[in-house]
Amino acid sequence: MRTKLILSVIGTFWFIVVSQAQEISKGDVFIKNAHVITITNGLLEHTDVLVENGIISKIGSGLKEPKGVPVVDASGQFLMPGIIDAHSHLALEVINEASSPITAEVKMEDVIDPFDVGIYRALAGGTTVSHAMHGSANAIGGQNITLKHRYGTRDPDQLIMEEAPRTIKFALGENPIRVHGRGKNLQPRSRMGVEAVIRNGFEEALQYKAAWEDWNASEKGKEKPQIPPVYNSRLETLVDILEGEIIIHCHSYRADEIYMLIKVCQAYGIDKIVFSHVNEGFKVAPELAKYTMGASVFADWWAYKFEVYYSTAYNAAILTKNGVVTSINSDSDELIRHLYHEAAKTQRYGGLTDDEALALITINPAKQLGIDKLVGSIEVGKQADLVLFDKHPLSIYAIPQMTWVDGVKYFDREKDASDQRLKVDPEETLEPIFLHTEHHNCMRDVDFYFTGFGRNLFGHSH
């Protein structure tokens, strides 16, 4: 009896601890008199924004200051929605499972590193949501995870944006060819092989699905097959893609391979696909506009490898003007700190308007991640992911001042302490210094890359 009581007390305590650990903190804040860049409803001058329990509850001028809610006087400052990065590898312990041209079964949610100080640095650049992606070693890579930058938690699960739909990484061109074809003498050895690998994967998934359907149907009848199909998480995932439950985010560069995958997707009835990097997307902009969920590009990266030699910094502008849902991503722990500046480059290269340029890092990536009903603009009812700039965010002189996720302030420039690490390795006597190392890491964890040969070949690795 006594033991039972103790056990139940411990059990209750455990439950409380666990449930508290899983509680995601949400905040209240009243931001007064800002230039509010709503993204979906233009620029509102001298406007107040009230956040209650992590949700934007009121937007208007001369709102009454609520009691007990922290007030931020934002006079003369610019408030915009938290920046969303549709292609990142931030806060991941590993990036590539380069063991097979298809590794749809692996999940980035299993390798989230909440201690990555890069999360704080991203917040200091106004980025509140990032799409933590598998690398580009495989034609069909692992399943990605959409993160909210709730820096400070030691619980990886608290970084996950639970409402976000599932996504998966695909990769075309040089990287899967190099890793499997050239590195291991396995298909794909060429862009023909990349198509074949993907088609074979889908066909196998269809057979797998049919086998299970047969088995499930036959169970009800009398003639039962001898052995049920073998459960296969890789093929399960591919079936989910075919059934529209997962959004594909495909690393791609050349127009031909982009066009190839559009056709493959059409053949299998897939319409949830976003192309990432897409340096030559501008060449097939009408097709991207018609058949896909858009393109997520760099502002100006090019010439780091042959497949991006024929690029243009006008890519985002051409895509936008052709009606493609376009975003600008980082693929880099460095760029993620100034995506607002990357977006601004589309004004030099193609003359996008302020609204068009800022959509590239807010509502458009939200659409591509399937979270545009929740974040990506300042609207009543949306999650209060916000960033306050001292100047217009597209100006080179703009400095992010405060960043909120779910109404909780995670960055405040005035209160910024120098060391923001959550943990320090006790055995580390000498802190390493990284000097202008390459920040791009789409090909991290690919052994071949770290051989002398590989390193020379691929100084830039995404």
Binding site: R121, K305, T312, E334, F434, L435, G459
Partner: protein, 457 residues
């Protein structure tokens, strides 16, 4: 029209060739076809190639009514600037137009061309392809290797860079202790000599006693020992060079020894030594190392300069720092140290220039400067760090780095603040050459913005 003329001609020919009416239609056809082919061929000779090339060209240009940002003598409103024989011939109000090509600059600003003080531009075409990498030689001691030799005047990145107003860059070799000799180049010319902007420096990578990145699993002790060993090696090389020089100066016979020949020029201060050094404690060691020697020295990189800014300032050694848009060196660093480093150095009194350390995106130099400006450097100092300061460090301030009469006409016209991404750079001049405001990025934009667009009539 011309087809009917051909038909008539064929008629006449066939009539003369044969009087027999039986053959006439066939003959007519044959002759018509022949004439048709000849005419096609003829037409081809004139119109086989579509479009016109836009080339740099030299002329006398009068930039009228501009906001002239001289850098050294303030900002002059409503001012004219005359470009003649490749030089800035006059700056003043209401200059007489004469026979100059007039450029209306109302509402526009004129800036001196920007200088990137550390790049690989021209030495690399595609970063990942070894066939196109020409910045590194074999061996640790190759100071005689000339970057200028390997500069490809037709690198696609050159026109991509210069339309941003970046007209002049230091392009440098990488690798070992002494990877080679960097060259200042201007981004126009058909040969390396035409691009030569008249400055060279021997590059040295100072041995680091810092732990470098994730893959460095060495113990603190090992790191220290290895750095000391490398410094000893360098000191040996230095002694050898001094020896070489003294023999040479005494008229002794010397075998062909290009490494020592080049280093002896450094010892004689004929050519400066650019020392790449970044970690704070390496900077202090380098300051000690330099103190014992009578050299002309510039420190480059200097990522942790903010930690030792006072000592750097006291040494009077100029610093080329950057990239600005980069991550902090250490996980414990404040998030913005790379943005604020330039400001910290400037405030301590260090003479400062900026670099991107880039190849294909050297065009971002104004944005690096803009970030440094925003994070404490200020617009004026940031502007100097990519114009006059760089020119002074490279000893070309008599020709570059500001808008002054007598200097090279290496400048650009912009519709606003060139640090702002929104601003358009409208016209670039390099040594008086009007630079075509096009490149592959722009041509792809023109072709693909609207795939179905018909050419203007």
């Amino acid at each position: 029209m011309w087809i009917s003329i051909l038909q008539d001609l064929a008629e006449i020919f066939s009539a003369t060739v044969t009087k027999q009416s039986f053959y006439r239609p066939m003959m007519k056809k044959i002759i018509f076809s022949l004439l048709f082919i000849i005419c096609l061929f003829k037409a081809d000779l004139f119109a086989q190639i579509d479009g016109a090339v836009v080339k740099p060209y030299k002329a006398d240009f009068l930039l009228q009514n501009a906001r002239v940002v001289t850098v050294t003598h303030g900002i002059l409103e409503n001012t004219d600037l005359l470009i003649k024989d490749g030089k800035i011939a006059a700056i003043g109000q209401n200059l007489t137009p004469q026979n100059y090509t007039l450029v209306d600059c109302s509402g526009k600003s004129v800036y001196p061309g920007f200088i990137d003080s550390g790049t690989s531009l021209g030495l690399v075409e595609v970063n990942s392809l070894p066939e196109t990498q020409d910045f590194m030689e074999l061996g640790k001691l190759t100071p005689q290797m000339q970057a200028l030799t390997a500069v490809n005047p037709n690198a696609v990145a050159i026109p991509v860079t210069r339309v941003s107003g970046v007209t002049t860059v230091l392009t440098q070799p990488r690798g070992g202790y002494f990877p080679g000799t960097a060259a200042l180049i201007q981004l126009n010319g058909y040969t390396p000599d035409q691009m030569d902007a008249g400055f060279k420096a021997v590059i040295m990578n100072f041995p680091s006693a810092a732990k470098s990145g994730d893959y460095d699993s060495r113990s603190e002790e090992t790191i220290q020992k290895e750095a000391e060993k490398k410094r000893d090696e360098i000191d040996e090389i230095w002694k050898k060079a001094a020896n070489y020089l003294s023999i040479k100066e005494k008229g002794g016979q010397l075998k062909y020894y290009p490494e020592m020949e080049q280093l002896s020029r450094v010892l004689k201060k004929e050519i400066p030594l650019f020392i790449e050094v970044n970690a704070a404690k390496d900077i202090l060691t380098a300051l000690e190392w330099v103190k014992e020697k009578d050299l002309e020295v510039v420190f480059t990189g200097v990522a942790e300069g903010w930690k030792v800014a006072e000592k750097l300032a006291a040494s009077k050694i100029p610093v080329i720092t950057g990239p600005v848009l980069t991550l902090p060196g250490r996980a414990s660093d404040k998030y913005d140290v790379a943005y604020t480093n330039a400001a910290a150095l400037h405030k301590a009194g260090v003479k400062l220039a900026l670099r991107t350390q880039d190849t294909e995106n050297v065009r971002n130099l104004p944005f690096h400067a803009g970030f440094a400006a925003a994070y404490g450097l200020g617009v004026e100092a940031a502007l100097k760090s990519i114009t006059i300061n760089a020119a002074e460090i490279f000893k070309v301030a008599d020709r570059l780095g500001s808008l002054e009469v007598g200097k090279n006409a290496t400048l650009f016209i912009a519709d606003g603040d060139p640090f702002e991404p929104k601003t358009q750079v409208e016209q670039v001049f390099i040594n008086g050459y009007r630079i075509p405001m096009t490149n592959r990025h722009i041509r792809l934009y023109q072709e693909f913005l609207d795939r179905e667009m018909k050419p203007a009539e």
